[in-house]
């Protein structure tokens, strides 16, 4: 597809369940980012990959959160033993370049809305 694709778009989980959120970046994009956006707030950084290497995971709120990008393309964000405070929209973004020169533009998907009951 032409843009960043995320699935599922909506997920309802019972407290304590594990969830997995998928991100298909734009083909050829080197960098992939995960952000968490609570209702009415700005996106908060979770983690960042350059190809398959996870270069920064400083934003992951706890060890219940885990992200991977094993082949440098599709990425999965996994949340174990979900809690109510995990309810948010999880946004994935990809970028053609790393930091750098011409542009650091991130292309965002529409997000996966997680509701934990």
């Amino acid at each position: 597809g032409a843009g960043v694709s995320q699935s599922p778009r909506y997920k309802v989980a019972k407290r304590g369940q594990d969830v997995a959120l998928r991100c298909d970046p734009i083909s050829g994009h080197v960098s992939l980012f995960w952000y968490q956006q609570a209702l009415g707030q700005g996106p908060e950084f979770l983690t960042y990959f350059q190809n398959e290497a996870q270069l920064d995971k400083s934003g992951l709120p706890s060890d219940r959160f885990f992200a991977e990008r094993p082949e440098g393309s599709v990425s999965t964000l996994k949340i174990q033993r979900t809690q109510q405070e995990d309810s948010a929209v999880y946004l994935c973004a990809s970028s053609l370049v790393v930091g750098g020169t011409k542009t650091g533009e991130l292309f965002f998907g529409e997000g996966s809305r997680l509701t934990v009951l």
Partner: protein, 110 residues
């Protein structure tokens, strides 16, 4: 996110008016200063961005003004239209990642 403070939180402007949103930051290592626009149910999308060696950039109705010494940058939307009604985020980049402000909800009345 405390590194980046946006104001105002919300803004109502008449059609044809000027919308101004401000962003103040603390981290002097930020190297790229974009504004993102987000519509309900969608992901943010880049609107306009500026590098720190430039004081102003204009693209159509949108202008960024950048004041490095004051650690502030602002977004000006000229001739605001109802279709501009959205949430706007400043998101300066540091350490390779964007740090988003809290957002400004803009409503343009016809």
């Amino acid at each position: 996110q405390q590194q980046v403070k946006q104001s105002p939180q919300s803004l109502i402007v008449q059609k044809g008016g000027i919308s101004i949103i401000n962003c103040a930051y603390e981290n002097t290592a930020f190297d790229y200063f974009p504004w993102y626009q987000q519509f309900p149910g969608k992901g943010p999308a880049l609107l306009i961005a500026i590098r720190p060696d430039v004081s102003e950039k204009k693209e159509g109705r949108f202008t960024i003004s950048f004041n490095k010494s004051a650690k502030q940058f602002s977004l000006h939307i000229m001739d605001s239209q109802p279709g501009d009604s959205a949430t706007y985020f400043c998101a300066p980049r540091g350490g390779g990642k964007l740090i988003f402000g809290q957002g400004t909800e803009l409503s343009v009345k016809p």
